[in-house]
């Protein structure tokens, strides 16, 4: 995890996801997730729901490809894959996604790899135009939490 640094920040990738945090309730975050290939946001009522939905999207796109097979107590359901991410015309979709905003904070997330059964990538805090790298889903959650609650990672 790195301290968010300030510069002109704009991410661009086919698998960009916009996480809008709307409120903090019972010590957890509620908000919406926008993905490029669906006009309607997915609403989540807890950070666990957010990470599970995002991981399902990456499975659906098969991008970034997971390096390790999924483990579960139960037999895992095979996620139906789509090639939607490989279609043309995603530039406008990404531009549209960049404009979405949550009520208390917005984070544009690019997961570059899915190694060690988790995520590695970069996140931009849209309101403050600051960027941070993460080595795991837990670090991404830490970055979001610190940005919203403490502003600790603001320089």
């Amino acid at each position: 995890m790195e301290i968010l640094e300030s510069k002109e920040q704009k991410l661009f990738a086919r698998n960009l996801i916009c996480v809008g945090i709307d409120k903090c309730e019972n010590g957890d975050f509620c908000g919406r997730i926008w993905e490029p290939y669906d006009d309607q946001p997915f609403k989540f009522t807890g950070i666990n729901e957010m990470v599970i939905h995002m991981d399902d999207l990456y499975d659906e796109w098969n991008y970034p490809q997971r390096a390790l097979n999924e483990r579960s107590f139960l037999r895992t359901h095979e996620m139906a894959r789509t090639n939607i991410i490989r279609d043309d015309g995603f530039v406008e979709k990404i531009d549209r996604l960049q404009k979405m905003r949550g009520e208390i904070g917005t984070f544009i997330v690019q997961v570059k790899f899915r190694q060690h059964a988790t995520w590695q990538g970069v996140v931009v805090w849209a309101e403050e135009n600051k960027r941070g790298n993460f080595r795991s889903a837990m670090e991404l959650v830490h970055l979001i939490d610190h940005a919203i609650n403490k502003g600790l990672l603001i320089k």
């Binding site: 995890m1 990470v51 107590f73 837990m138």
Partner: protein, 70 residues
Amino acid sequence: MSIHKLNDSKDKKGTFIVEIQHQENGSWQGKVTWAEGGRKEVFRSTLELIKMMDSAVNDTEEVGAASSVS
């Protein structure tokens, strides 16, 4: 609170005993035991742990008698 008291709690959705053994790659690795399902699994990240717990709690109905599997 003892393990027995934990197991007796009412309206439980699922009970898990989590053992964190390593902290590598900015995440946690260890073992998780699903008490109702009587199964133990190794997890390699918190994301994997969350997904395992979530599927044990939410997908049990679909699998039917999964909770009696030991």
